[in-house]
């Protein structure tokens, strides 16, 4: 089945590897502009209340200060429908932006910021979802009737009948706590708004287009007046998709001072700027038959949205649609709501917002399997979707390797020999997941465009608007172009990171890079190939359709002796009477909206050892299988599996932003417990290739699929190890011990 490719499927090293390994690859904070000022933001110290007075007079007198701004300077600029850029009357969380300064050096900026005096009148704050939704609770945002920021309800099939026909119905409630993306490069930006009619912004980002649109919209500019430079992005993990207050604050400061302004977050500030995952309360109810057939899933989800909603509604959309994507159920009911509180605003961590929901659903199904005496792996397998299936929501799978993933991980890990047979406090667990490759949702379209030009020496410049945040997207695009044109990835320079130069691309989120931009690059390469084939065909006196492009050569299929070098053909095309300069252009927009054309699938099996005295969990091994359609670059695919397992493990066992009185009390990268080298498990990678008919060379996404398979694999293993299904996430040592105590208590009662 697998076609033999030259470049596709190779373990390709990153094209920008040498630049990054030598520290030459520039990140935003490495950029120095002439006359650049340093900015510092002044933030609220109360979770809710009125601003009585802001006194900036002393700050303005600090030598080196060039601009001080408050709401007066940013009136009318909105970050989102419910969020003013700088608070005018009300503040909504500890950290809300109230004022800012720009000065010639950082010390002056810090000194001035400290001299800005803000008087507040505190008001009662709503710090939990219970408080925010209690009858009589103050309404946090005007134009709302209550503190529900958004609601999504999705129903498919006859839910009530499906429950009535079920042999076993079970309901479980879960609670998850906030976590943080913690990428290596902290948030920051440089904005130069000192020229009339043009704004340039440097910032790490997953999507230049959304930054461009956001800045333009908020500042009343047209998009072409905004130039976004996202040179390199030091990790994103769903945390860098939109314009943040600091981007717009830098713009306002720059305008006022007529100089570029840089604002970079401190390590502590980063925790409140990032919009990472918030807390949630998730209820799952399902109905199954005795034989394990899953008939119906019902879910009621509450997510703490924090002070401002921004784009968190996306999480509800993704969770709702995913609920009916993994198993062949006949009915589904989903209600998801976002709740405003006076906590730090949230979005989600890596995983499309699915990590809390996958944890909860996985634990729920684990408990169901226990109830009916079925091996949980068999429960997943029995109900798994497969190729050709269309779900109750209309999601159709042209390729699906879910069952293959389950089979292969089962075999590799020795599941059948281990499940139910391990010594006490050793456990094994399985998690399955599905992730769409791109898809509509934010806009009417989901377009990526690409163009390429070929120099007379046969070397390519490939222009793409897709950022590379480390996932290797640029290298993957180069490999796609190289395969199409029969050249090497090293022959290609990828040019990106500047909206004045790069073509349109919605961005690297929603797992669209490989699939959508990949198809765009393939189309652009085919366009160029056609132009080159014309010249070669003329020279070789054959039909263009009979030409093969391979190993930097172009030859006739029927007569391989008739060969030309790629470089020579390109040269000749340019130096002909026509003087044609070869340029390829292409775009791709997925035609469907349910939500995507292609989906990756995965299964992961975790083995753990629990210390019953301390409650600490050691993740011994992960067996990870993922259906990526086709691994364009297996080295990069493994890298994604590794990183996402590590991140999933972090979220499941270690990481929690502990909230108290509206503050994160462990707001540092030492007290927020990120796992390190000793916590890394043994890894087995299994790449499953189902050759999707729509993906470029059959490829689908792998940028977020694996993490959606991870948390319940680990949580299931821990629950298996201690003999109790845990319902709080992360599974901290204290919660594990509590689970053991509850288990013992229940045993005594029986």
């Amino acid at each position: 089945m697998a076609e033999k490719y030259n470049v596709i499927g190779r373990r390709q090293t990153k094209l920008d590897g040498p630049l990054k390994a030598t520290g030459r690859s520039p990140f935003t904070e490495d950029v120095v502009l002439p006359g650049m000022l340093h900015g510092k933001i002044v933030r609220s110290t109360i979770p809710r209340g009125r601003i009585v007075k802001i006194d900036t007079t002393r700050a303005e007198r600090v030598p080196g200060v060039k601009a001080v701004i408050t709401h007066k300077d940013s009136a009318g600029i909105m970050v989102g429908p419910d969020q003013q850029l700088l608070c005018d009357e009300m503040v909504y969380y500890i950290g809300d932006e109230v004022a800012a300064v720009a000065a010639t050096d950082e010390d002056a900026a810090l000194e001035a910021a400290e001299l800005i005096k803000v008087d507040y009148e505190p008001l009662p704050a709503l710090l939990t979802m219970e408080e925010a939704t209690a009858p009589g609770a103050p309404i946090l945002h005007q134009y709302f009737d209550d503190n529900y920021a958004d609601e999504k309800v999705v129903n498919y099939g006859d839910v009530d009948r499906a429950f009535a026909e079920s042999d076993h119905v079970r309901t479980d409630e879960f609670e998850t706590f906030p976590s943080h993306n913690c990428f290596a490069e902290l948030h920051g930006t440089i904005v130069d708004y000192s020229l009339p009619g043009k704004l340039a912004i440097w910032t790490p980002s997953q999507t230049a287009i959304l930054i461009q649109k956001g800045m333009a919209q908020s500042l009343g500019l047209s998009e072409s007046q905004v130039r976004v430079l996202n040179l390199n992005t030091g990790g994103a993990f769903s945390g860098r998709g939109t314009v943040r207050p600091h981007h717009l604050i830098a713009a306002v400061l720059s305008r006022k001072a007529s100089r570029p302004v840089r604002i970079c977050m401190s390590g502590e500030e980063e925790f409140i700027v990032c919009r990472s995952a918030g807390g949630s309360k998730l209820t799952f109810k399902s109905g199954v038959l005795k034989d394990g057939t899953l008939k119906v899933i019902e879910a009621d989800h509450l997510y703490d949205c924090g002070a401002y909603v921004e784009t968190q509604f996306i999480q509800l959309i993704i969770v709702a649609s995913t609920l009916q994507m993994l198993y062949k159920i006949e009915a589904m009911r989903y209600r998801g709501r976002l709740v405003y509180t006076n906590n730090v605003p949230y979005f989600f961590h890596h995983g499309g917002g699915l990590v809390p929901s996958q944890f909860a659903l996985g634990q729920h199904l684990y408990a169901v399997a226990q109830d009916i005496g079925l091996d949980p792996l068999d429960l997943h397998y029995k109900n798994a979707v497969d190729k050709g299936y269309t779900t109750i929501g209309g999601t159709h799978y042209a390729s699906c390797g879910l069952k293959e993933c389950i089979e292969k991980t089962s075999r590799k890990s020795g599941w059948k020999k281990k499940y139910g047979k391990l010594p006490p406090y050793r456990g094994i667990g399985i998690g399955c997941g599905v992730m769409s490759s791109g898809g509509k949702g934010l806009f009417q379209h989901d377009t990526s465009a690409a163009f390429l030009k070929i120099a007379e020496d046969g070397k390519l410049s490939l222009f793409t608007g897709l950022p590379d945040m480390g996932q290797g997207s640029h290298t993957t695009m180069a490999m796609i172009a190289a395969e199409t044109l029969g050249i090497e990835a090293d022959d290609i320079t990828v040019i990106s990171g500047d909206t004045d130069i790069a073509p349109f691309d919605v961005g690297a989120f929603s797992q669209r890079g490989t699939f959508t931009t990949g198809n765009a690059v393939k189309n652009a390469s085919l366009d160029a190939k056609q132009q080159i084939a014309k010249t070669a065909a003329e020279k070789l006196q054959v039909k263009p359709a009979s030409l093969v492009f391979k190993d930097r050569k172009i030859y006739s299929k029927s007569d391989p002796e008739k060969t030309l070098s790629f470089e020579d053909v390109v040269f000749d095309t340019l130096h002909s009477a026509e003087g044609r300069f070869i340029m390829g252009r292409g775009f791709y927009n997925s035609p469907t909206s349910k939500p995507a054309l292609a989906y990756s699938f995965g299964a992961q099996i975790a083995e753990v050892e629990v210390d019953p005295e301390t409650g600490m969990v050691r993740l011994l091994s992960m067996t990870v299988a993922h259906d990526v359609g086709r691994a364009i670059n297996p080295l990069a695919v493994e890298g994604q599996m590794d990183g996402q397992v590590f991140s999933g493990m972090g979220q499941t066992l270690f990481e929690e932003c502990v909230l108290e009185q509206g503050q994160i009390i462990n707001q540092s990268r030492i007290d927020y417990r990120l796992p390190r080298t000793f916590e890394v498990p043994g890894m087995e990678h299994i790449i499953v290739e189902t050759n999707d008919p729509y993906g470029p060379f059959g490829a689908k996404e792998v940028g977020e699929g694996p993490i959606a398979c991870n948390p319940h694999a680990i949580a299931g293993a821990v629950s298996n190890a201690i003999g109790y299904t845990l319902t709080e996430f992360p599974l901290t040592p204290e919660r594990v011990l509590e689970g053991i105590r509850k288990r013992d208590k229940e045993k005594r009662r029986v």
Binding site: I46, N666, S668, E734
Partner: protein, 334 residues
């Protein structure tokens, strides 16, 4: 996070250093490794007028097996230097293990033993920037009247987070404390006080110049257990050091010291008595572990809940006793 403004002097001798400490009192701070002080300065919980760079001062940089029966380690010796010191590793394996468990290798390359002994106590509500702390009332440790860790408490409950301190106390170590014109020896067990805001007996014009470990302690059986969520980087959630000396008459002298649970290291007394009276039986070990729970004083929910701290103390005592009692082919009575 930038450092605040300060003046800087690099004294060329310990004498010069002590003169300056005398002159500046609490307005000067010693900078050795920088891995504690500079972080606190970035958070603005420390804002000295003068920073004195004592890294590399020869008087603080010797490891000597002295003629009075002590292993004398200069306060300025880095933790990495101790880790690679073969004799310390063989004579004091639990101490060596404790040193190697401090933070990360990067930190150990810079941090000093003196710095780890005088490590500032830690608290979620303290190790934060001024903006963060401004959301709450000023706490005891910052000169205010509140404790956010234990509401209403008249004193600070920030946690002593040193990994080397419990082992050194168990080994019977002392420190040489110097001030201008004066030197005194303080038993390390008397060096700490149960107050997060004033965790040691050091006066502002004093400093530690050396740590003295009695070499006879190397003949005792040691133990050190650090419980942390991550290996190779974490502050401890609870640590214990133990020492079982044979005093020649058949009965052992047992020492157990807990740390990272409260504001000061806790030398267990009633716990040790249980074993002294009943021996290392399984029942006695269980009883001793339970007894430890009552010797902990007021506990906070800092970093872990008070209940978990109490539970960890029990676990640590049990594990330390088992480690100290471990003999090949042991045969413990029930």
């Amino acid at each position: 996070m930038r450092l605040p403004r300060f003046g800087y002097i690099k004294p060329s001798s310990i004498e010069e250093c002590l003169n300056l400490l005398q002159e500046y009192g609490g307005k000067a701070r010693l900078l050795a490794g920088g891995t504690d002080l500079l972080i606190n300065m970035k958070y603005r919980v420390a804002s000295p007028e003068l920073v004195m760079g004592i890294k590399g001062l020869p008087e603080l940089s010797q490891i000597v097996m002295d003629d009075k029966g002590y292993c004398s380690i200069g306060a300025g010796i880095t933790l990495s230097e101790i880790v690679s010191h073969k004799q310390i590793a063989s004579d004091f394996p639990a101490f060596h293990k404790a040193v190697q468990s401090v933070a990360s290798k990067h930190i150990r390359n810079m941090a000093t033993l003196g710095g780890n002994i005088c490590l500032d106590t830690r608290c979620w509500y303290y190790n934060k920037s001024k903006w963060w702390r401004d959301a709450r009332e000023v706490c005891h440790k910052m000169g205010g009247r509140e404790c956010h860790a234990i509401k209403g408490s008249p004193r600070c409950h920030a946690i002593n987070s040193s990994d080397t301190v419990p082992v050194l106390i168990a080994l019977g170590a002392r420190v040489k404390v110097v001030r201008k014109g004066q030197e005194r020896i303080v038993q390390l067990k008397d060096f700490f006080q149960d107050n997060g805001a004033r965790p040691t007996v050091l006066a502002p014009e004093e400093m530690i110049s050396a740590v003295l470990i009695p070499r006879e302690a190397s003949s005792a059986r040691p133990a050190f257990i650090k419980i942390a969520m991550r290996k190779g980087i974490d502050f401890s959630m609870g640590s214990i050091a133990g020492l079982l000396a044979q005093n020649g008459k058949g009965a052992g002298e047992l020492r157990l010291v807990l740390n990272c649970i409260g504001s000061a290291p806790i030398t267990l007394k009633k716990t040790v008595l249980v074993i002294a009276e009943a021996g290392f039986t399984d029942a006695a070990v269980e009883r001793a572990a339970l007894t430890a729970r009552s010797e902990l004083g007021a506990l906070t929910n800092l970093f872990t809940s008070a209940g978990y701290k109490r539970h960890l103390a029990e676990v640590l005592v049990k594990r330390a006793l088992n480690e100290l009692n471990e003999l090949p082919g042991k045969n413990r009575s029930k």
